[in-house]
Symmetry: C2
Subunit: 380 residues, 2 copies
């Protein structure tokens, strides 16, 4: 970076949630001035930055005015006004990831087309502009319908089992995707800086709980064969290079029962599937993101110990001022690290924090994670 | 802790320097509300807390008023108004470390008497109230004279070689100490919570540079025999128990050429000799301090890898707005972690940050530390 930046550089973060919060914990080491924009006046970052601005991330003027005196802008959520970012880029503000990358990733249809154009393996799909299109898709039932924009954490996704489900389908622009009969959901986080250096974190696995039908644990590193891991990491690197992204890119993938890898979705920022890097890897995803956007040498991503990450979700049936139960008890287990996100209010399944469980032994890490999961609760 | 504290608890930190800053980086994970008092309006913590108050740490009213609405107060510097803390304790505010511990440690004479009363090995000494006392001390020349109060980082310490040096001696209340012909300076950090649980970090060594006559590196863990390490750790534990301190205690010691250990000084807080725990140990000294003062189970202190810590000092001959040279270059070495302290202005030998160098191989960690030391500079 041309600018002498330790101490002077003004870094703006669009979004003031937990990802921004953990980014700030790391950015403190770099002496940068941090400005945060978030619509929630109680956002987790509100008290940890040089300037916190409460405002809409999707409003052109708000984003433009927030950014115009900054040196560098990054995001912790991709639902932001990209036109404002594009104008800021034209006026000389650095925006990493670049506005064109955010624009592409905001739209799941464009993501899919990008995969196709770049020979990146992904499930068969079709773009849908209205419910009428659903009558004659090329994709066989059952299939998945996803809204092209604004879906997250399972929202904006439906399974259609037969034409009888069409009345319940989304009417907005969407994609339909072949249902993948996967063996495992996997993810690779990759970083790229402006010099073009690219580095991946080791592949991780999501452990699914069939009873509650949810991803329960994230486990790092994977125990799949070296070949599969390498293939997943190569795909992530290729995407980062094809996009020429600057910053972090989380690549969520399916490992199919036949051993193929299909890319599911991208997130151009630190990601839930990389939280365990804080304790489990030589550098964390947050440190790596900062190194990438500051155009510094990328850090060592190697795994130090087995890590299991659990999201700490608001307990079902509780809404209001958050109360945490069991923190003291889980901290008596060695290798348990608690990260609370500073959210004042809980609601069912809201991400209130995460717990990372580290151990030299993979099975012991998983056993401890199960214990932790039974003990800790967020109520109101 | 009786109070349901995640989110509600108001934690006050007396002092807003780098130790407070690193404590906050860790405290973010616990959701506590942080209030900081520091006389410098540009203090490193100023932008990282719920409330920053600029004021004197040694003024009774300032400290009392700062603390009276808080739940828990801790320190990152021991030069604070202890009378105010004592009154706050009487009124029900928790103060950890306790005011009586801070009062004792503030006075090097009382520290020495405490060692003597509790059979803690330390060098021979004598309390001195005026220069006249120096004429007939029981300690043989050459000896060390230390001010009883307010010395730090080598300030307030003089070597007297013969009675001819008396005119240059300190006139204030002081101690004279036998000069210890030590083999190595060592340190152990110990934590104790209010339940009485006690845990030490592994013993560390200071590597002295005879050319510049300064401690150059801190190396963790030590390579001395198990017996010596255990002895040092037992001494640290005994002191924590004798003091009944709640919080962290850094115990600086001399290992003599005959293999004895003599306690030099105490610091009742996170300490420069524990910075390498951030990357080098399972929990950091900052996390451990918070666990101790929150009365949570103490964390696993075991060493993960060899660590060398270098203080990043303001270059001699430069004063003014700090400029950092070489950060990019040292970050290209794997296992190098930079911590800048957010200080706007540099001056010769001011602590501006620290670098931690981690490696599986001790010699390689030291080699890399030497490289880092040659490259990085803080100028103006």
């Amino acid at each position: 970076m041309a600018k002498d930046f330790y101490g002077d550089l003004k870094l703006g973060i669009l979004g003031g949630g937990q990802l921004g919060r953990m980014m700030i914990q790391e950015a403190i080491n770099f002496n940068v001035n941090i400005h945060v924009l978030d619509p929630d006046k109680n956002a987790p970052c509100r008290l940890l930055c040089n300037k916190f601005e409460c405002g809409s991330l999707s409003d052109f003027d708000t984003v433009y005015n927030f950014g115009k005196d900054l040196d560098l802008i990054t995001i912790e959520i991709e639902k932001v006004n990209v036109d404002a970012l594009e104008k800021l880029e034209q006026e000389g503000v650095q925006v990493f990831p670049q506005s064109r990358v955010i624009r592409l990733i905001q739209d799941k249809g464009m993501q899919k087309q990008f995969f196709k154009q770049n020979d990146i393996p992904t499930s068969a799909f079709q773009l849908i502009s209205s419910k009428d299109n659903l009558q004659n898709t090329s994709i066989a039932y059952p299939f998945i319908q996803k809204l092209r924009k604004d879906g997250y954490d399972g929202k904006g996704v439906k399974r259609l089992n037969s034409p009888l489900d069409i009345p319940e389908a989304f009417a907005e622009p969407s994609i339909v995707e072949e249902l993948v009969d996967f063996e495992k959901e996997i993810a690779v986080i990759v970083a790229r800086n402006d010099k073009g250096d690219v580095k991946t974190f080791p592949m991780v696995e999501m452990e699914f709980n069939p009873v509650v039908n949810l991803v329960e644990f994230l486990i790092s590193p994977s125990t799949y064969s070296e070949e599969i891991q390498q293939k997943a990491e190569e795909i992530a690197k290729k995407i980062a290079c094809d996009l020429q992204i600057v910053g972090l890119l989380a690549v969520e993938m399916f490992l199919t029962k036949s051993g193929d890898i299909l890319v599911n979705e991208l997130a151009p920022r630190p990601h839930n599937s990389g939280h365990q890097t804080i304790e489990g890897n030589a550098v964390s995803q947050f440190a790596q993101h900062l190194r990438a956007i500051f155009n510094l040498p990328l850090g060592d991503t190697s795994t130090r110990q087995h890590a299991v990450m659990i999201n700490l979700l608001g307990e079902d049936g509780f809404e209001g001022l958050a109360k945490y139960e069991g923190v003291e008890e889980i901290l008596s287990i060695d290798g348990v690290y608690v990260h609370l996100y500073g959210k004042k209010y809980t609601k069912p399944f809201r991400k209130m924090g995460h717990i990372c469980i580290i151990n030299e032994n993979r099975e012991l890490a998983i056993t401890n994670a199960r214990k932790v999961q039974e003990i800790i609760k967020v109520k109101a």
